[in-house]
Amino acid sequence: MSAASSKPAGEVIETDVAIIGGGLVGTSAALELRRQQRSVVVLEQGWCGAQASGVNYGGVRRQGRAACQLPLSQRAHQIWRRLEQTIGCNGEYVASGHLKLARNEADMQELVAYREMAAAHGLELELLYPDALRQRYPWIGTPAYGASLCAEDGHANPRLIAAAFARAAEQAGAHLLQQSAVEDCRFDGNYFLLQNSQGVRVRSRFLLNCSGAWGKEIAGRFGDAVSEQAIYPNMCVTEPLPPLMDLSLGVVGGAFYARQVERGNVVLGGGRGDGNLALDATRPRASSSVNALAALTEMVPALRHALVIRTWSGVEGETPDGQPVIGPSASTPGLLHGFGFSGAGFQLAPAVGEVLAELVAKGESSTPIDAFSVKRFAVQHA
């Protein structure tokens, strides 16, 4: 993967589509656009997939998403099912099941209501009451009141997945520029003109804003008002342990989410770290780690003897309603947004890539995305 273009500064790379952001959304869009045989240039300020795409929990889940996300999430599920065909490796993806725990009766009612709603979107969930829960998963502790199981949800290794999508896009002919922050970007009425930190210039007919936590800033340059703030999810990982948890675990309220990878480490998220938008500036927060670990061991007591070997954080973009920004710009023709996934973008990303490519090809998406329109912020600002 090239760190920078070999073109001397001053020359312009002409392309059909320029994409700002080499994370999962940007690279899956690039891959899909290459299938349409359009030329693509991806500009990534750091390394492809090293931001939210690479440091997130790795949950590949439909369960728990708002109704407006389920069509997109179901579409993504089909892509995950044939992942190896798409990107040439499985990235440790496993459809292990996702179990969402209830702590009490109120939580259980929430799961019951969600199950009903989800069924209308073709998502089948199984409710488990305490006896059945402990019989099937004896490693779950007594504080668990019940649970909702989505048998085909699962998890994957975000570092491998993000890198694999980038590689697949490049092998398909996308031009990836890394260490390539966009310094200038504008629209001249017909074309988008971009210039990166190395003086390389790109001219394109379409521009995809897939810049994650930086999405608001890029959108703003074209007059699209967006409400987005950077959040820093707090993550921990244990030493490798004997197999114990055979599915991805969550809890109503989100105090923790945990999964055990094949090598045995338990990856755990919960709470917030600290940071800013500079690359490599995020820091986990000890109190968040402590709280998440305490919540986890309440539900999985056997883990109390494990050793924590690392904590980390990363940058994700969050919107006030927790929904991403997907779809055409309100101001600039040819500009499309795909960012702001508020901590839940990993599973959706491959479908978002397809949708963005559809928007380029046909001007409309076959999957409903109205709830994610950038226009919803303009209404607020009016």
Partner: protein, 101 residues
């Protein structure tokens, strides 16, 4: 065969402990690592290849000497003092270890 040989400080009180279910003796002030390696040549097995390990740096840096007690507690052998009645596992008994871990 043992990896450590005592050459000094032999006049200390005995401490009895268990390794893989076998009763052994150490001396007060021994680290767990010393207690075990004056008898044998393994502290643990790696999770991936199952290769035997017996520590490396002895000052708590390399993290290669973590053992487990029979009740599942993790013990860093070189920086933990041996205590009377400790029941340790070295990875030589895979079935028992899985049961107790």
């Amino acid at each position: 065969m043992s990896l450590l040989k005592r050459v000094a400080e032999l006049e200390r009180q005995r401490v009895s402990f268990w390794l893989d279910g076998k009763a052994l003796n150490a001396l007060v002030g021994d680290s767990v690592l010393t207690a075990v390696l004056t008898h044998t040549d393994q502290l643990r097995r790696t999770e991936f290849s199952g290769a035997p390990r017996a520590g490396f740096c002895l000052i708590g840096c390399c993290q290669d000497c973590w053992m487990r007690s029979e009740d599942g507690v993790a013990v860093r052998a070189c920086t933990t003092e041996i205590e009377e009645g400790m029941r340790l596992l070295s990875g030589r008994m895979p079935a028992a270890e899985r049961e107790h871990a």
